[in-house]
């Protein structure tokens, strides 16, 4: 049974990115084995009985058995004991997940329709979450609008981000690499696109990344724009290296040309058009896209200088 448990653990689950993930999978493996045995008894028993006691004639005599106290006590007690075991096992693990470690690296993560923003202590903002390997990390979750939920399948962790209060979760990544972050609380139009990456890097890479990101202000304006384009999640909806539309229109070689709108008119693709598209995304929809646009407004999200940098970057895409 233990061997089977080991074999089952992790099957059908995403890769294990934390120690907790391994423990969750062990419990899941145990549950799978017990469930399999229970179903084998119930379904197997059913199939055995219906074949064995198949009706032979309309006058078949059947046994008259109204109850059997011993059996009934047995099949109430055994499930109860199993349920209590898995309950207690789950409790212990759940407690580990909920007990925040001390001295963890704290990152503030804000959800909004439909992106995540991680804010680090030194002021760096990023739409991807970058963390060092082998270190306790605590995420403090908040939301600017509706309820979202922060889910990293490979880490087996999930926590709702609720407007009007903070929630938190922690993890200690054991594997380098990139992992999906999904929003799992339904939040409207682009709920399914509220996906980002969680990058686990070495401590050195992490330190370097933090410094680089905080020095973005010293870069040339277009390069800064390129950074913002990535970190403010513009890149998740807009292509910049080919003309194909993603969730939004491509920005590749668009600058200075005519922008065709969904109402049939055209406007020049210039600074003011790009600015308005970011501030009031519903105002001028590109042709081929239906209202309402899933693009969130960046009003109050971007400073004037950040806005100018992004515009400068889009200019350079020609």
């Amino acid at each position: 049974m233990l061997l089977m448990n080991k074999a089952m653990a992790g099957s059908f689950m995403p890769e294990q990115g934390t120690q907790i993930a391994k423990q969750v999978d062990n419990l899941y493996g145990f549950l799978l084995v017990v469930s399999f045995i229970s179903c084998a008894i119930l379904i197997g028993g059913m199939i055995y009985f219906v074949l064995k006691y198949k009706r032979k004639s309309a006058h078949d005599k059947t046994a008259y058995i109204t109850h059997d106290t011993r059996l009934e006590v047995l099949w109430s007690a055994i499930p109860l004991i199993i349920f209590l075991v898995v309950f207690a096992w789950g409790w212990v693990l759940y407690h580990d997940m909920r007990k925040m470690p001390e001295n963890a690296l704290e990152i503030m993560v804000m959800g909004r329709q439909w992106s995540w923003t991680a804010e680090y202590k030194n002021g760096v903002k990023s739409s991807e979450i970058v963390v060092p390997v082998g270190k306790d990390v605590k995420l403090i979750l908040g939301s600017e609008d509706v309820i979202h939920s922060f889910f990293v399948p490979s880490f087996r962790i999930k926590q709702d981000a609720v407007p009007g209060r903070y929630t938190s979760l922690w993890f200690n990544a054991t594997k380098l690499g990139e992992f999906h972050v999904f929003c799992t609380e339904y939040c409207g139009t682009s709920h399914a696109a509220m996906i980002t990456r969680l990058k686990v890097v070495t401590q050195e890479e992490f330190d370097k990344w933090l410094i680089e990101e905080s020095e973005v202000g010293l870069l040339p304006i277009a390069e800064r724009g390129a950074k913002y384009f990535q970190t403010r999640a513009c890149a998740s909806c807009h292509n910049v290296d080919n003309p194909a539309a993603k969730i939004g229109p491509s920005l590749y070689q668009r600058w200075g040309k005519e922008a065709h709108l969904s109402n049939g008119t055209t406007v020049p693709f210039d600074e003011n058009y790009v600015r308005e598209s970011m501030m009031l995304p519903q105002a001028q929809l590109a042709a081929g896209f239906s209202a309402p646009s899933p693009m969130p407004s960046y009003q109050g999200q971007l400073s004037e200088s950040e806005l100018a940098a992004i515009i400068e970057y889009i200019k350079g895409l020609n």
Binding site: M46, T66, W91
Partner: protein, 533 residues
């Protein structure tokens, strides 16, 4: 075999209008049957559209992508859920089969309040009509759960939809009240509480939940409507409210509602298994009390929907523990049914196939329910396709199997005609296989982390989604065959004898179809309901 006089509830009063003013519980059951089947068709078409959309990732050219954008998908998803829950599965068995057979099974002439019974159908239709109108006025995209603050801020006729659900809830309360009084007051002489057939026991337990839990849903939905209309701050943090409070209120109704959906199904299964095994039910008292037990505990488990909502750790643990306790009476029922098959004389009629299908699907739905009740496991599975698969196994696998099985079982009694056995068995084959093909892959998708309510997904989930979509077509074929069998049975079915299955309960002791007042003479009951000796 009809009644000697040739009169029965169908032909006693002529004209279509007589149906809409009838106070007869059997006729009202037929009204419910026709309307609920229509809503089932609507909800089913929505489900097919959703599955078709998910057939492929959206970047793939020309396949899948039929719902245009996330908004349309979210609306279809909302109507699929709301229609299926509020207009099909919650009213389904109690309003159709319960209305028809509860009075017959206890030897009564009708329910306690026939006028209220007819009124409940009109109230239900009013609510349903309002819900349908929202689809044409301004489509709602909140999901059937109406979670705040999304439901307060999004567009669409949310208030109207919520009022519709409120009105349908009223109908549910009235029906429940009627059944409770009927069981207590109108039993035939000798029909003690422990001689009541288990189907009636199940409907009775359900009625208790309907009466106690539904008002909470009503109040919650009204608060939501007030917040949206007048800006009273209850759930929206911007107005000083608490969005998680809504979840507590909502699940305080909606978790017991899960048992409103499944308890009647369990009642049907008890009837089918004894009849087609020709054997007395094993553990009558245990099954009857486990229905009441499930009804009682179901009020204290709502927090298991909220393990990651930000509720305290201790709340999570307490709700996990209480949820485990619901598992015990459920397991008892499964074992009792199994023991009933032992040394029986089992006939593989279509209703029995549906009953066996129920046991199969419910076993899987049950064990996965226990997995979800384990806090640490639920953190990973919560709001993924694992949950979608689990509740479809229980609610669809369970309840729909029971509706179909129960419907074929009682078809001869309801209409006085026989249906085609062969056709009905084929419908079972397609529904049963199609169901597993559709929903089993979703367990794996959920374990791999695919979130629910997603218009699109990352490419690694595509293969399993394709399998699932193909399964939905098989289910459709199964239901179309079922519909054909029913229509053919009504048109050309052979005349049914009074008791074609050799069943022992009272409804089979009157003519098929029953006369207006059910029995020629008030039946006198001298033994339990399943005396197959």
């Amino acid at each position: 075999m009809g009644h000697a006089s040739g009169k029965n509830y169908i032909n006693e009063e002529p004209g279509l209008l007589s149906w809409f003013t009838s106070l007869d519980h059997k006729r009202i059951a037929i009204l419910y049957f026709v309307s609920i089947m229509f809503f089932f068709l609507v909800g089913g078409i929505m489900a097919l559209l959703l599955r078709l959309e998910l057939f492929a990732v959206n970047s793939a050219p020309n396949v899948g992508n039929i719902l245009k954008n996330g908004d349309v998908y979210n609306q279809v998803l909302t109507y699929h859920g709301a229609v299926m829950v509020f207009m099909v599965i919650v009213p389904g068995i109690p309003a159709i089969l319960g209305n028809f057979f509860l009075p017959l099974q206890i030897g009564a002439k009708d329910v306690a309040f026939p006028r209220l019974n007819l009124a409940s159908w009109y109230i239900f239709m009013l609510g349903a009509a309002l819900a349908v109108i929202t689809f044409f006025v301004a489509k709602v995209d909140t999901g059937w759960t109406f979670y705040t603050p999304y439901s307060i801020r999004t567009g669409g006729a949310v208030v109207m939809m919520v009022v519709a659900a409120f009105i349908m809830g009223m109908s549910s309360i009235v029906t429940g009240l009627n059944f409770i009084v009927t069981v207590h007051k109108l039993r035939a002489p000798g029909m003690s509480m422990f001689r009541i057939p288990l189907f009636t026991w199940a409907i009775y337990s359900t009625a208790i939940i309907q009466v106690l839990a539904t008002p909470v849903l009503g109040i919650t939905l009204l608060l939501l409507a007030m917040e949206r209309t007048f800006g009273v701050g209850i759930f929206d943090p911007k107005l000083g409210g608490d969005p998680v409070l809504f979840q507590h209120f909502f699940w305080f109704y909606s978790h017991p509602a899960v048992y409103i959906m499944i308890l009647p199904a369990m009642g049907v299964i008890s009837e089918l298994i004894t009849t087609y095994s020709k054997k007395t039910i094993f553990g009558y008292t245990a099954i009857a009390f486990s229905s009441i037990g499930i009804a009682a505990v179901s009020f204290f488990v709502w927090g298991h929907h909220m393990f990651v909502s930000g509720q305290s750790e201790i709340a999570g643990i307490v709700f996990s523990f209480l949820t485990m306790l619901v598992g015990v009476p459920t397991a008892i029922k499964m074992f009792n049914w199994l023991a009933t098959l032992y040394k029986g004389s089992i006939e593989f009629t279509a209703p029995m196939l549906y009953a066996l299908g129920f046991l199969f699907l419910f076993a899987i739905g049950g064990v996965t329910g226990i997995m979800l009740a384990v806090t640490a496991i639920d953190v990973h599975f919560h709001d993924t396709y694992f949950v979608v698969a689990h509740f479809h196994y229980v609610m669809v696998g369970g309840t729909l199997m029971a509706i179909m099985g129960g419907f074929f079982h009682w078809f001869p009694k309801m209409f006085g005609k026989m249906y085609s056995e062969v056709g009905a068995r084929w419908s079972w084959v397609f529904i049963f296989i199609g169901f597993n093909v559709t929903f089993f892959p979703q367990f794996i998708l959920g374990a791999k982390g695919m979130p629910r309510r997603y218009f699109d997904y990352v490419p690694e989930y595509e293969t399993l989604n394709r399998v699932s979509t193909v399964g939905s077509w098989l289910i459709t074929i199964g239901f179309l065959i079922g519909l054909y069998v029913i229509v053919q049975g009504l048109r050309k079915g052979k005349q049914a004898p009074d008791n074609p299955w050799g069943s022992k309960t009272l409804e089979w002791q009157t003519s098929s179809p029953p006369i207006m007042h059910n029995f020629d003479h008030d039946p006198v009951v001298t033994a339990g309901p399943y005396e197959y000796k």
